[in-house]
Symmetry: C2
Amino acid sequence: MASPVFELDPQLSRATKEVGSLALSRVLFMNDSRYPWLVLVPQRPGIVEWSDLDTEDRHQLLDEAVFAGEVIRRLWDIDKLNTATLGNVVPQLHVHVIGRRQTDPAWPGPVWGHDQPVPYAEEACTSLLSLLQAELSCR
Amino acid sequence: MASPVFELDPQLSRATKEVGSLALSRVLFMNDSRYPWLVLVPQRPGIVEWSDLDTEDRHQLLDEAVFAGEVIRRLWDIDKLNTATLGNVVPQLHVHVIGRRQTDPAWPGPVWGHDQPVPYAEEACTSLLSLLQAELSCR
């Protein structure tokens, strides 16, 4: 039997634009102009909790989340990073890395479930994706 | 000049009961009976973001958060773990590790800011603290 293969959850795919891949993670950009927001999905099949990853992958995923946070901080003027794995709606393990500003609509509360997303204008989204790809040096 | 010393943020202290310490973290138990909820604070001074920790401490903190999640799963019947560092209100880096149930009042949304906490009865809280201390084998 072939070993299971990583496939990105379609709900994550629909809500985001794909930036590229790091050593472990697929990097996604949330199409919500209210918050600079990346989502990192470890490209391993069948992972729901941090404990499903072996120690090496787990540390790698955290390091990539920290790196994603640094990229957000370079591109946007933010006050705080929020880093979280929830997975109540989409079980496939995914790390939210979100730049927060004291002026954003959900501050100081969490961003999830706070009204509807405000998608980027198409041109702005394309520019941001290029910037993110350059900063992340994604393959 | 003396090097700065770790001190637990008083807001974190007020909202929680102290369970004990792991190798790196102070482990706190959120006094909110709606959710099994631990908070881990790395006992290093001046830490706000994951990137403020050196790589070794960062990996250790994640491993301790995974361990805390396993303890929650042993003591409660949960559907999902939520693991998060937000810090929009209390900047001192602290990792929330929360056991979520499809029947809890905030499901599937995030727990933060969802109505008021419901403190445990004193006796229940004392019993849970003892159980947690045994499971975490805290010093």
